[in-house]
């Protein structure tokens, strides 16, 4: 076991992927709680499709992938929020429109420029994709996400729990919604390369849902979600290394397994509680 870990971490690319992945899992788990509770679970999915489009365009025009993807995804995040505030198009419909359009644009660009080999790694992630420069940028972005989240924690809780009340008592809800969208966009961008555009949204949704099964306080949901996400990423990565399976997919499967376990714990626990009452 320890030999395997030692061997695994002797590769530089694995260390890079591990650092980026750990930070992304943590960011995604923190934001995920808010997004799931605000009924924005699919926003991660929509944004990652936009990310795919941006990466494909960047690759075919020989531009640096992250520098194109970051502004595009941030812009898409704002657009999605605006669209869902205007009740003419529902939030879920807005996400469906934007994500399928972006996916289509991406696929067309990839096929025109003829770099088909990369398509798979964009969609499902590749552990080899992170360069050292990427890793540094990811680390900086992730630290920013975590610090901003900690600073605004109480306000984020208030806006998530009851937006109207917060607005009526003078909290700038628009600002906090923008902050949340911005942080989500950044998290998606940095996680996309390892996890893949189709799988990154799992990192946002699963830890939050799992911890909401058993935790009763907002703070414990957040902490539990972060810890679960970190553990799942670590286990998923080791599994992927030892069984030679794709990293992103392995991490998602571990997350899904954790969710099922927590679900069962919740069911058993409430049954026991009911019987004790009788």
């Amino acid at each position: 076991m320890f030999d395997m870990l030692a061997e695994m971490f002797s590769y530089n690319f694995i260390i890079r992927a591990f650092i980026v992945g750990t930070l992304v899992s943590l960011c995604a788990a923190l934001l995920g709680v808010t997004l799931v509770l605000k009924r924005y679970s699919m926003i991660g999915d929509g944004l990652s499709h936009v990310g795919f489009g941006a990466l494909a365009v960047a690759a075919s025009l020989n531009l640096a992938p992250l520098e194109v993807a970051v502004p595009v995804i941030v812009a898409a995040a704002f657009l999605l929020l605006r669209l869902s505030e205007n009740s003419k198009i529902n939030g879920d419909a807005a996400i469906a429109i934007i994500s399928s359009t972006a996916l289509a644009v991406g696929v067309v660009f990839v096929s025109i420029s003829g770099v088909n080999t990369d398509l798979n790694s964009y969609l499902f992630g590749s552990i080899l994709a992170t360069t050292t420069a990427d890793a540094i940028m990811c680390a900086v972005l992730a630290v920013v996400v975590i610090i901003v989240f900690a600073l605004f924690y109480n306000n984020i809780f208030a806006v998530t729990f009851d937006e109207t009340f917060s607005k009526a008592t003078g909290l700038k809800t628009g600002v906090y919604n923008t902050v949340i969208a911005l942080l989500t966009a950044l998290t998606i961008v940095i996680g996309m390369r390892i996890m893949g555009t189709l799988l990154i949204s799992a990192l946002i949704i699963f830890p939050a849902l799992s911890s909401m099964r058993i935790c009763k306080k907002f703070k414990s949901v957040i902490i539990c979600s972060g810890v679960l996400s970190l553990c799942s990423f670590f286990v998923g990565m080791c599994t992927s290394y030892s069984l030679d399976t794709p990293t992103g997919a392995s991490v998602v499967i571990v997350n899904a397994a954790v969710f099922v376990i927590f679900w069962i714990i919740d069911i058993v626990y409430s049954k026991v509680k009911k019987q004790n009452k009788l």
Partner: protein, 248 residues
């Protein structure tokens, strides 16, 4: 001086005017009930008072040092809150955020939250999960939160919707108590009979028309007569009822 002065204001949303030429004063320690049919503009007026929307015409001004951000507001519960994982004390203290805020809640804010939980009788539940409470308990928690945001004025949006008769009576007693402690109450309600027996003043909104006066005056007004099914207990009315008048 009046706590709230509405001067010849028109209000509406999406370019539609639902209330026009409304003028009234609300004084400290008033207990005002806003009643009226669906679509008569109760919610629109409330949103204007809270500053969520601006009046189309005219002004709403606050006196006695009341700031718009210092109005306690009890909204109707949303779908999101039904399965929200948060403890009672987390919910209540989030009402303090309109005061000066640093990264952590101050000792003073924690004391305010505890005091208001005592006041609404949910202090014992403070470590419980919000989603596991009964409807009446949840409403008390939300009331404690709105008290954290204010010392002067509470605006309540249909506070007894979905509560059983016992919880409804408890809620009305609680609101009455708060009012007697000096907090001005503005309540939007569909429950006209309770409004008349609890509130000191009634604002009845109707299309192109409104009534604002004491509960007793309301029972004798044209709008009130249409809306109230029970009799007014005053001598004048009993006399008329005996003489065969209906629906007085």
């Amino acid at each position: 001086m009046a706590l709230i002065t509405i001067d010849n204001a028109s209000m509406g949303y999406d370019g539609k005017t639902v209330l026009s030429n409304l003028s009234l004063n609300i004084y400290e320690k008033d207990y005002v009930c806003i009643v009226g049919e669906n679509g008569s503009g109760k919610t629109t007026l409330m949103k204007c008072l809270l500053g969520l929307i601006q009046p189309i015409k005219g002004v709403i001004s606050f006196g006695d040092g009341l700031k718009q951000s210092e109005i306690g507001y009890l909204p109707q519960q949303t779908l999101i809150q039904k399965d929200f994982p948060a403890s009672v004390s987390e919910v209540v203290i989030s009402g303090c955020l309109n005061k000066k805020h640093t990264m952590f809640y101050s000792k003073q804010q924690k004391e305010t939250a505890a005091r208001n939980m005592e006041l609404t009788g949910v202090y014992k539940l403070r470590k419980k999960c919000f989603r596991e409470l009964s409807g009446g308990q949840r409403q008390r928690v939300m009331l404690a939160r709105s008290l954290c945001a204010t010392q002067k004025l509470l605006i309540l949006d249909e506070p007894v919707t979905g509560l059983d008769p016992m919880a409804t009576a408890d809620m009305y007693t609680l609101i009455k108590n708060l009012n007697s402690k000096g907090i001005t109450i503005i309540m939007v309600s569909h429950d006209v009979n309770s409004a008349v027996s609890n509130a000191s003043k009634i604002l009845h909104l109707s299309r192109n028309n409104y009534f604002y006066g004491t509960a007793h005056q309301y029972l004798h007004s044209d709008l009130g007569k249409k809306f109230i099914l029970s009799d007014c207990p005053c001598d004048d009315c009993r006399h008329r009822a005996k003489a065969g008048a209906h629906n007085v």
